[in-house]
């Protein structure tokens, strides 16, 4: 049960008779009248047991876009439902108008549209709907909360999409398809064609030239149909915020850019998020659009407060690809953890695969290391220096094992990783 502001105003108006005829009798009379009105209104209000709810949701929405959730309210009772309806979305779903007044005549249905502007990536839920049915006088209402679960999946924003055109152009240059003056780089034989002025004389195929009257050159193209396996670390270290963005989100951006690029480059991409078990998986092998699958897999990821189990990682990668692949590990290089897990595992993986470790560097450390004004700042600089040295040491050890290390600040990581991929592809190391 609930009372309305109108009832409060009515009670305030009750002050007039009380003041005109002061006395406890008047007070009692007015109170009784108010109670009678309240009970009357409450008894004529529509029953909330005869209400049906139906929710229609768009399913997916990208972050910073807005969407609409439609709630259909059916009234199977025989009295008109004058309801105040609250569609209870969790706060980060950004429901703009979750409370609405809906009048549903007996036996009919009405739609209520709630605009959502999600503020967070992930699965956002609305567990229930609360209805408040007022009587015809709108003095009092019955209230009931009905379970009506709904969820929308907010996909990662893919801000690094803006780097895609330039990286694709680079890829096409490698392919030899772009209008450039250099021959297509790569190691895989593509085709023979007639020599034109400007071609590198080293690429002339003398055997084919001997068979024909014209000079023939070989063209090359980068390898295709290689495997790219991206592992995203969702362990406790992914919760660290660098430059207003958790490491996990930076990793998602980098993984998305690399995956889209590699797919256009003709390679097979597989992605998995892992800490102690697989949190999400997507790949080119399955049906449908790769990008769509990737964002679906990435949307619900959250950092888990547990340590990454490195011993399982080779097994996971073997499950995905039995052949030589490009293995990209999106994991931090910071001191402590890598020595025990990352280094031995990277060494093991590097024997079979091409391994790239991509890590976010904290620009704050560089700033701290340069400030040397007071004793406090110098100690901070020393601590930052220590952290940077430890990172550097890990990076050097990884490079000695033949592992590629991409170490960049948050906004630079996705393009830097894409560049590393293009470089490896051009060098034919995939």
């Amino acid at each position: 049960m609930a009372i309305s502001g109108r009832f409060v105003l009515l009670a305030l108006a009750g002050l007039v008779p009380v003041m005109l005829f002061p006395g406890w009798g008047t007070v009692l009379l007015v109170c009784l009248a108010l109670c009678a009105l309240l009970l009357l209104d409450l008894s004529i209000a529509a029953s909330l047991r005869k209400v049906t709810l139906d929710r229609t949701l768009p399913g997916n929405v990208t972050l910073s876009a807005s969407t609409e959730s439609v709630l259909t309210i059916g009234n199977t009772g025989n009295r008109t439902l004058r309801a105040l309806v609250r569609d209870a979305w969790q706060p980060s779903a950004g429901a703009q108008n979750p409370r609405q007044r809906v009048d549903v005549p007996a036996g009919e249905r009405r739609r209520m549209t709630v605009t959502l502007r999600p503020a967070r990536r992930g699965d956002l839920k609305a567990p229930h709907v609360t209805l408040r049915a007022f009587g015809p006088l709108r003095l009092a209402a019955r209230q009931r909360t009905l379970p009506c679960p709904g969820a929308i999946r907010v996909l990662p924003p893919f801000h690094s999409r803006r780097h895609l055109p330039s990286k694709l152009r680079k890829l096409r240059e490698l392919d030899g398809r772009a209008a450039v003056q250099i021959r297509g780089a790569g190691t895989e034989f593509d085709s023979l064609r007639d020599y034109v002025r400007g071609d590198d004389v080293r690429s002339i195929d003398w055997r084919a030239t001997a068979r024909r009257s014209a000079v023939v050159v070989r063209t090359w193209r980068p390898e295709r149909d290689r495997r790219v396996v991206i592992m995203l670390d969702t362990s406790r270290t992914a919760a660290a915020r660098i430059d207003d963005e958790p490491r996990l989100d930076t990793g998602i951006e980098a993984a998305l850019l690399l995956a889209v690029l590699a797919e256009r480059g003709g390679d097979r991409v597989d992605f998995f998020a892992f800490d102690r078990r697989t949190r999400g998986r997507a790949g080119s092998a399955s049906k449908g659009n790769l990008l769509g699958q990737l964002v679906q897999a990435m949307a619900p990821l959250e950092p888990e407060l547990i340590e990454l189990d490195w011993s399982q990682v080779p097994g996971q990668i073997r499950q995905i690809s039995a052949h030589r692949s490009l293995v990209v590990l999106l994991t931090p290089l910071d001191g402590g953890a890598p020595e025990e897990g990352l280094l031995p595992m990277a060494a093991q993986l590097a024997q079979q695969h091409v391994v790239v470790v991509a890590s976010v560097r904290d620009p704050m450390l560089g700033t701290m290391q340069k400030e040397r004004g007071t004793a406090t700042q110098v100690f901070r600089a020393a601590a930052a220096e220590r952290a940077l040295l430890e990172r550097e040491a890990v990076a050097i050890q990884l490079r000695q094992m033949g592992v590629e290390v991409v170490d960049a600040e948050p906004h630079q990581l996705p393009p830097a990783l894409a560049d590393a991929y293009i470089r490896l592809k051009a060098a034919g190391r995939l």
Binding site: T130, R247, R372, V378, A383, A387
Partner: protein, 376 residues
Amino acid sequence: MVFALGVALTIFAQLSPRGDTVALSTRNAAPDGARAVAEILGNQGVEVRQTDNFAATMSALDSTSEHSAFGDTSEDSGDSSGTTLLLYDRNGYLDREQLQDLQQATDRLVVVTPRLNALSALGGDIRPAGVVPAGVATLDPGCGTDDPATAGAVTAESAYLYQADRPCYEPSEGLGGLYATSDDGRLVVLGSTQIISNGRLDEQGNAALVLRTLGGSDHLVWYLPGIADVTTADAPKTLDELAPPWVAFLGPWLALVAVLAMVWRGRRLGPLVFEPLPVVVKAVETAEGRARLYHDSHAVDRAADNLRAGTLVRLARVLRLGPDAESTAIVDAAARHLGRPAEQTARVLEARPRTESELVRWAQQLDTLEKEVTAR
């Protein structure tokens, strides 16, 4: 032990019946009290009752007059029966009607240092006549009234004089005296509080005069008017009395409306929805925590080693010496690069600061050196 004893004494002192500090009170044993008189009279069989408000006094007078009336019929002792009322109204709390009521209710009224309005209310022709002149220490009765004549001389310091038909204790002829009685003897005016007080009772004939004056009857009511006697009959009307009757209902009704408003606003439209917030930590926290550890433990050496190692690694990279270069090689290379003697560069790079201020200065030198090498 001593402490326990002290506590016990304090508690005993707090719990034991206590007197008051009112001047001329029969419970006040101080020099300005009148406990001595009351004790003596009590020992002589006079029942002394002290009151401090008008109603209590009237009821005391009523009960004693009934009692004495009963005594009268049984003993017929004449002179010693009846009630005496001692009235010492220091602040003039009593009004005319109350004084007259008191006078009617008692057989004998002894008034101590009354003022003009009190005397005029009590009737008779006794009037105040100033104070005893300075330098007069004692006064002789000089009149034929029984009590003063028997008592003899009394002390006269800071006493008031009263003009009457037969004043006693006149400093000089016609000035008025310290002791005055009305014609019928039912009203006695005493001009001095000193002669009743514990401090002066034993001097001269004070005791004799006081005891004779007060001990004339079986019952003595000792009335010292207090603040409770201030009449409030003519006080202005309160706000409640002035306000119309409906005002009394205004507050409660508005409170009821306020409660209803709280119920209206306080009823939530369904339960809250749980928001699972992800864990997010600032990445630089670990480095900052380590910096605070260094600072708190004054780890100057360790901080210096870190800064030196960082600078050497960067210099080696800038000077293209490879990651395995020895520090001496880096020092030499840096000196050559800058065109300075090797000792100078070595002094900066190999210094060992001892205090925090040295560390700060050295860290800045290190930074400068690094910038110089990078700039060239």
